[in-house]
Subunit: 121 residues, 2 copies
DNA sequence: TGTATAAGTCTCTTTTAGAGACCGTATCAT
DNA sequence: ATGATACGGTCTCTAAAAGAGACTTATACA
């Protein structure tokens, strides 16, 4: 456990990079959205209406850069672009879902804590 | 898997809250730092030199608000404040470490992907 | 008397995110 | 022919968030 932290202190720590992805707020949503199968840019935009096109582009680039998703352009007119999980990206879904399960399971307890905190503050 | 996403579309989704914590960039470091045992404010600040006092305070408040850590004031002169993981906070360490393990295991593959992306761009 | 420590807070600046108009090309309906 | 629509983005402007670092109050110690 401790040795994890030691690694994280490093400026260009690999763990930091990954947490930054999760931290990016939208990337997890994108990964989950791609889980059933490949998806095109505007389809993703429609599925995730809360994310601006600007951030969607940026998030997709980030994920592509780290090899979690693959971008494939089809020479149709107008060109269409398909995004798909890579094996690496798919392998992240397991740990990610574990976290989400924890969140769902802990939601009531967190809500209670928040109420208590608000009442006392 | 899909039903996770459906829940996440909601504006005040509990899962979103949790991911926002992870997203907060520093909270995970703090949780890991508290894993061995309780720790005081300045001790945390010294252990995590990259985080400003301002953000440390803010992150600690957020974690306290959600019941992941507990804040206890000792009436010494000057007063000292100790932060400790709650049971709830400790229960998050499991999923969190699973994610970190993934990150460490995948780091080489991600590095390769980055190099490839940079070369082609 | 001067310095150090405790746990923060305050202000200022820089970075990041969000809103939403805009781009060129091509298809379809009128 | 004319206009609306769709594709996958980019661009600019504004608002929110984060980082740097000085400052606070009270106390202890040299």
């Amino acid at each position: 456990m401790r040795d994890m932290l030691d690694q994280m202190d490093l400026a260009n720590c690999p763990v930091r990079h990954v947490l930054d992805h999760i931290a990016a707020k939208w990337t997890t949503l994108i990964l989950l959205e791609l889980e059933p199968g490949p998806c095109r840019f505007n389809a993703l935009a429609r599925s995730l209406p809360d994310i601006s096109r600007r951030m969607l582009t940026q998030s997709l680039r980030d994920l592509e850069r780290d090899g979690l998703i693959a971008r494939q352009v089809f020479p149709t007119k107008p060109p269409s672009v398909e995004y798909a999980l890579t094996d690496l990206g798919r392998s992240l879904l397991g740990p990610l879902c574990a976290l989400i399960d924890w969140a769902k399971a802990s939601a009531p307890e967190i809500a209670t804590a928040r109420a208590a905190f608000a009442a006392q503050a």
